[in-house]
């Protein structure tokens, strides 16, 4: 196999794991709360900026600061739920779309106002996390490897929480039938708050992991929102396992599109793939049932 193709496949795979984690948050929130969070990418942007400010102000490597940022984002998520999302659950679709869209516009431009539109990168302090690694004859950047391994770990942790803990089972029950869950004594409001916090933590963690090699700027989120929508549509809205596989697929489609056609249009190819998927299987995605 040609070395360039190997390289493209490898970097697509690595980015794919990060996409999986981003999509997990969106899919989880949708599956449990039936709300499509159009501000999803903005929370990724928030995670990136937090990683940046931790590196500037406290001289902490994102790999360390992620331990603090995940809880912060969880609290932010719960706060946003309590203040905003709670009011639109079960509301009209237009009100849900406009509220989360309003939130995304607000967050992106607030970041623009506070932190200027400059492009930044979070600084690395752990020296072993730079450079690149030869794998099967191709070179992959260590930051990318760390981001994808980190994404897999966070994904696995979230998966464990959802599938194997008591709270996780309550989340699943709510997702299947919220009225039924209420009947057996689950506090739906708490579950929604936890789910939203968890979803935001996932996407924010992805942001932190990207912060050392992906440029940080206020509008970075709108782009990742689109990627997340495409991934979730591919994997099936509400499906945890689907997000994982679809994220990898999207990452590979993106890099192969860049390799075979042109790097400039690789996202157009991702969006076109998404269009084809929703046309063929509008409600379920490739792996839904």
């Amino acid at each position: 196999m040609n070395i360039g193709l190997m390289q493209a496949l490898m970097s697509g795979l690595l980015m794919g794991f990060v996409y999986s984690l981003i999509a997990l948050g969106l899919s989880l929130i949708y599956g449990v709360m039936d709300v499509v969070n159009f501000a999803h990418g903005e929370f990724l942007m928030l995670g990136m900026f937090l990683a940046y400010w931790f590196s500037v102000l406290f001289r902490l490597d994102p790999l360390i600061s992620i331990v603090f940022i995940i809880p912060i984002l969880f609290v932010v998520g719960v706060g946003v739920y309590k203040g905003l999302i709670k009011r639109i659950i079960g509301g009209t679709r237009i009100s849900q779309i406009l509220t989360t869209f309003g939130l995304s516009v607000f967050m992106a431009n607030m970041a623009m106002f506070l932190w200027t539109p400059n492009y930044r990168l979070a600084e690395r302090f752990l020296t072993w996390t730079t450079g690149d690694l030869p794998v099967f004859g191709v070179h992959v950047g260590i930051p990318e490897v760390i981001a994808s391994v980190g994404s897999i770990l966070v994904f696995a942790f979230a998966y464990y929480l959802i599938r194997f803990t008591r709270t996780g089972r309550a989340i699943q029950a709510t997702s299947i039938d919220s009225e039924g869950a209420r009947l057996v004594g689950i506090n739906i409001d708490n579950i929604y708050a936890i789910t939203f916090g968890l979803g935001i933590s996932c996407v924010g963690a992805a942001g932190v992991l990207l912060a050392t090699f992906y440029y940080i700027f206020p509008y970075v989120g709108t782009f990742f929102s689109m990627i997340a929508f495409a991934t979730v549509a591919l994997g099936g809205f509400g499906s945890v396992e689907g997000s994982f596989v679809a994220g990898i697929l999207i990452g590979i489609i993106e890099s192969l599109g860049g390799f075979f056609i042109s790097p400039a249009v690789k996202y157009a190819i991702v969006f076109m793939t998404y269009m084809v998927v929703i046309i063929l299987r509008p409600a379920t995605g490739l792996f839904g049932w």
């Binding site: 499509v36 159009f38 905003l84 009011r87 639109i88 079960g90 509301g91 009209t92 679709r93 237009i94 009100s95 849900q96 779309i97 406009l98 509220t99 869209f101 309003g102 939130l103 995304s104 516009v105 607000f106 967050m107 992106a108 431009n109 607030m110 623009m112 106002f113 200027t116 539109p117 206020p218 709108t222 689109m226 929508f229 495409a230 549509a233 042109s262 400039a264 249009v265 996202y267 157009a268 969006f271 076109m272 998404y274 269009m275 929703i278 046309i279 509008p282 409600a283």
Partner: protein, 347 residues
Amino acid sequence: MPKISRKTIMIVLLYVGVVAITPLFSKAPFYRHVLIMVGMYGLLGVAWNIMGGYTGLYSFGQSAFFGIGAYTSTMMLVKGGFSPWIGMLCGGILAAIVAAGMAYPTSRLRGPYFTIASQAFARTFQILMTNWDYVEGAIGIPLPLMPDTWRFMQFKDKIPYHIIIFSLLGIAILVCYYIERSRTGYYFRAIRDSEQVASALGINTVRQRIIATMLSAFFTAIAGTFYSQYVLYIDPESVTHHALSVEIVMVAAVGGAGTIWGPVLGAAILMPISQYARAALGGAGRGIDLIIYGVIIMVIALVRPTGILGFFQRERTIEGEGGDDIGTTVTADTGADDAVRGSLGQQ
């Protein structure tokens, strides 16, 4: 064809009067520029409303249609020397054809899924335009300067632009009045309130959705041509950007989606805010107008999803089973004013 009532004539006269008088309050070009922006975003909002307000297709991809309008007339002018008026018509028709091509495959998508698809469509379009060398890609196209003529729609003064955009807006509003009273309008609203029920009643929902999208795209593209003639420079960043799609939805939603005058009211409220905020704060205030937009839209969506005009309307809630995915809150009448309600009562 509904009868033309006296109230309709009154409204037309009032509209013409307001349009004629407003630019006379100040000679400042900036003031007149703001008015023109109100007209342009009013037109864009009215166009969105045909899809979003009446039919429930919450499109966040209007920038693609706007871009088609701007690029078609500009390319025809630059490469072929055609008058922008012809370009405007061609752009509108081309946008309508593209819209049909986008609406047909997405006709099974509802609510947020359609929103996402329309956004993906517009972003794909932007990427393609940015990388298409024939239309100068990311460099953009400056329009050739012509002497002041109506034939080439170029003027040093702002008044002719004012007349053009508000005439176009007036036409779009008349079309909306016609839609509201016609069978098509009832089809649209039936689809918005419940696509399943509409389909069960024998409405060809796919066909009606395509019609709504095409109409909306046509008027959006016309505004695109107007923009290119007014600013005299276009590039993918300015005429196909995602922020434009967002602003269009906001204008319609803030004023009142599903009403005739709502989008115009929304433009009249939001455009002065954004234009003056940008001018007053300059570079330091980057994004201030959009922060305000974000807050306004969240408050509106939470307090009264029917927009500001919704505050003046009685609201009737239908206790639905939640089977349809559009929503269960319906305003008593989507007509914006008594004229419409009156004429509906007569039927």
